[in-house]
């Protein structure tokens, strides 16, 4: 089995996810993820020539709700999981 994923890919994905890793961690993750992805590629061997592409595992469609108002959280409730808040809203660090 050849390498599917390399260190550069891992660094890219980590950056997209706003995660920071040491070089040693990157090496470890690259190795582990490569094994996992190699394993998963086996699925590609399945014969799908007569299979219609699907975007969902369930064979149901058209699940809708009517455009009716439901009661929302109170402000206090909405802030319960916020690490930081002030009287107006969720407080987040300076964005760069």
């Amino acid at each position: 089995m050849g390498k599917i994923i390399n260190k550069k890919d891992i660094k890219h994905i980590a950056k997209l996810a706003e995660l920071k890793y040491s070089d040693a961690e990157i090496d470890k993750i690259t190795d582990q993820l490569d094994k996992i992805i190699n394993h998963i590629t086996k699925i590609g061997q399945a014969d799908t020539s007569n299979i219609v592409p699907t975007s969902h595992v369930l064979e149901i469609t058209n699940v809708y709700r009517e455009d009716k108002v439901r009661i929302s959280f109170t402000r206090e409730e909405s802030f319960k999981n916020a690490p930081l808040e002030d009287e107006d809203g969720f407080k987040v660090p300076k964005i760069d």
Binding site: K15, L16, A17, S55, Y64, S72, F73, G89, P93, K94
Partner: protein, 490 residues
Amino acid sequence: MENEFADIKNEYETVIGLETHVELSTETKMFCGCKLSFGAQPNTYTCPICLGHPGSLPVINKKAIENAIKIALALNCNICENAVFHRKNYFYPDMPKNYQISQFDMPVGINGYIDVDMGSYVRKVRVTRVHVEEDTGKLIHIGSTGRISEADYSIVDFNRAGTPLIEIVTMPDIKSPDEAKQYMITLRNILLTLDVSDCSMEEGSIRSDANVSVKLISSDKLGTRTEIKNLNSFRFLQRGLEYEVDRHIDIIKSGGKVIQQTRHYDNKTQTTMVLREKEEAHDYRYFPDPDLVPMKIKEDWINKIKDTIPELPSAKEKRYKDFLGLSDYDSSFMANDFEISSYFEEVLKHHDNAKAACNWIMGDFSAFINKDGITLRQSKITPENLAGLIKMIDSKEINGKIAKLVFEEMYNTGKNPTDIILEKGLKQINDTEKLEKIIDEVILKNPDAVSQYKSGKSKAISYLVGQVMAKTHGKANPQIVNEIIIKKLS
């Protein structure tokens, strides 16, 4: 110098594509039952779904999909039977889930177009896609300037998060900043007619991102494009694009290279500034949202929605021309602004004289409201009262001159024309007996004009009519006066 530059400019062709976001005016959000609430106290309309709490499940708002289909149909799109929601992954504090639910390769509508009337020609702008997504929350940057770069921290208001948003993407068919502006006006007018969004520019209910590049007319090679984000006024759209086009040409002319960037238009300086270079993070890793099952948009639903589409501006314009007998220019003026056309048609409901209604709206009415910087609906004149005024002219209760005075009074006070005429005693004098007495006096007092008329100077009669009008303070029916004088002098 100026001409030399114009020549250089003429060697280039502008290529513009627009992505327009429209907030739908449904009662509730796209995937949860929180009320849409522009301007409410921050974070008063949120729930586990629009705050992205783990384990919460979104459910599609049917009305929003209906409106999306309506829009797609009005923009001449094909409706995709299989439409799917995808996750667009990126990290930003205004997105509580760290992905936005959007559509990717299976949107609601594809391959449409809008005909944009440019007066002397029509620009056909192809619409690549109409898709549904959710809006983000709003960030308030706290610091001395309110700017993101100088902020100490930011506050997130999630009231807007999850608002149903329609994105309308065009092909790069737009050839000038003016066409871009006209496209947006046309699109907005269609959306207002469909009654799917308030399309408020100030509140950001409709906003466009513009992709622009220039290329040598003689070359097939497209230039590097830049994107101007979040243009929420027709003027900003046009000015921002004009600035960008000039900037691109200047760079190319001086031997430089345009860099692919996202830029922001600042109306204070009337320039565009870099927001960010096209970053490597432009990697959204779209995948079908496993929380939402696919949509199957069937023919019978589409047909039902088709039946709810009102007469669109282009059809209106044709009807005004063919059935109401308005000129090309008048039909276009009446049809291509939703507020004007709805006002115009309401006037016609009360009194059926299209040409007169059109003349008042385009003439005196426009002059008054333009002077005050307000719209037809913001003025004190109701369509019913304008219809009343026209009716009184048509039935010869008042003449055109008096009508102008009554109109001004209506505009200033909002009173109806009948009351104004009664109060001010402005009713037209059609009573021939009464008029004959006045005319006899005028004939006696103006022997010169009388003899001029008798010696063949037919123009002298208008002097005599004028005298009668002056004596009656403009209230006499000028046609009747004219007839009586001719009779008396022949």
